[in-house]
């Protein structure tokens, strides 16, 4: 699988978590792709933390509208029924539990549901942006990421990078499978049929508990 295939496998699987009417915030990067896979019969309302709900697809070249950009400064479109607001209201929505699902990338995630994705001390420090609020406030936190980074494990017993939030992750979706965080343990619910259980565990630092009802991940 090339990197592009991997990202799309993950994005496609994340989209299945959405229900009709859900308010969803998609992080920059891989999570943005999820919007492409939402089934037509499922109406999801995309929240953009820079100040609106009702975000549509990226704007076509030449059809960009001034001041209509997503949180990554990319020109986007609106769907009917969109609404703009200021940053305090945007984070009242986020922190107040009015976002059903937030989908973010991670540098590390651990079996307690801890998430690290905002800094690597001494090297890369992008800052937390809205991630700390999103992870604390959203009803369901989905980490969407490649299972490893350049061979290094990212699903750990214990994060060693500075945390974004403590014990807030609910679901981890990678190209290898779907892992749920339940009571500080990781339950493997689905596995990509291209991999064996041994292969997945070998690339996962934390112990994976195999769900009795383990399913094949649709890829």
């Amino acid at each position: 699988m090339d990197n592009n295939q991997i990202k799309n496998i993950i994005a496609k699987r994340v989209a299945k978590e959405f229900q009709n009417g859900f308010v969803v915030n998609l992080g920059i990067g891989l999570p943005t792709l999820v919007a492409n896979y939402v089934p037509e019969e499922v109406e999801v309302i995309l929240q953009s933390e820079n100040g609106f709900v009702g975000m549509g697809p990226l704007a076509e070249a030449g059809k960009e509208i001034k001041d209509l950009v997503n949180a990554g400064a990319m020109p986007v479109t609106l769907v009917p029924g969109a609404a703009f607001f200021d940053s305090a209201t945007s984070f009242a929505i986020i922190r107040g539990g009015h976002v059903d699902v937030t989908v973010l990338g991670a540098l590390q995630v651990d079996e307690k549901g801890n998430l690290a994705n905002w800094m690597v001390p001494g090297s890369m420090v992008p800052g937390m942006g809205g991630a700390m609020d999103l992870v604390v406030g959203a009803k369901k936190v989905i980490v969407a990421m490649t299972h490893t980074a350049k061979g290094a494990k990212k699903i750990l017993k214990q994060c060693d990078l500075p945390l974004t939030a403590k014990e807030q992750v609910n679901l981890i979706i990678t190209e290898m499978g779907v892992i749920e965080v339940v009571n500080r343990r990781l339950i493997l619910r689905e596995i990509n049929p291209h991999f064996t259980l041994e292969e997945v565990q070998a690339l996962t630092d934390a112990e994976l508990i195999i769900c009795e009802d383990l399913k094949a991940m649709e890829v």
């Binding site: 703009f84 200021d86 940053s87 800052g127």
Partner: protein, 217 residues
Amino acid sequence: MTKIKTLEEVLTHIQDDMSIMIGGFLGTGTPEYIIDGLVDKGVKNLTIIGNDSGFENSGIGKLITNKLVKKLITSHIGTNPETGRQMNQGEMEVDLVPQGTLAERIRSAGAGLGGFLTPTGIGTLVEEGKEKITIGDKEYLLELPLKADVALLKGTKVDVKGNIYYDKAARNFNPLMAMAAELVIVEAEEIVEAGEIDPDHVMTPGIFVDIIVKEVK
């Protein structure tokens, strides 16, 4: 007694060592014309408060590239490598604040509150030096208000009384900062007469705005 001034008049109010809030989100809703004026004037040792540090040649990034910033209070610096470089070299202090907490701290100052309790940052480095308060069975951080000497805003449409209308995602931090600074200056894309903005559509009441300057591109 008009609030409309030239950029030159605006710049007389901004001095070295001041704290300045700057509206915008990665450049959208940012008063670029005033920022260019600050760069030309070369005011320095500034404390800048804004959502992000923009890009190297736009928004707050221009102040950083020109080494005018002593301290930056922001939520995200990933889009501007020069910010990271100055931070890592110890040339500029950077205080990273979760975006929702940053917005709420500014609102809190403008609203006369002494602070607020947020769950954001519990169990992270953001806790450091802050009081924790437990309400029911949930822990919160006590976050304090954030004020500034000056707020620089960007308005899409501004009437002569200072009432501001922001188009689409240009609103972001602007209405909050309008309430939290001693001196509030708005850069207007368009200036209209009083009453031309429907009173229901005003997003920043003119009572907050001291000075209006027309953007020149």
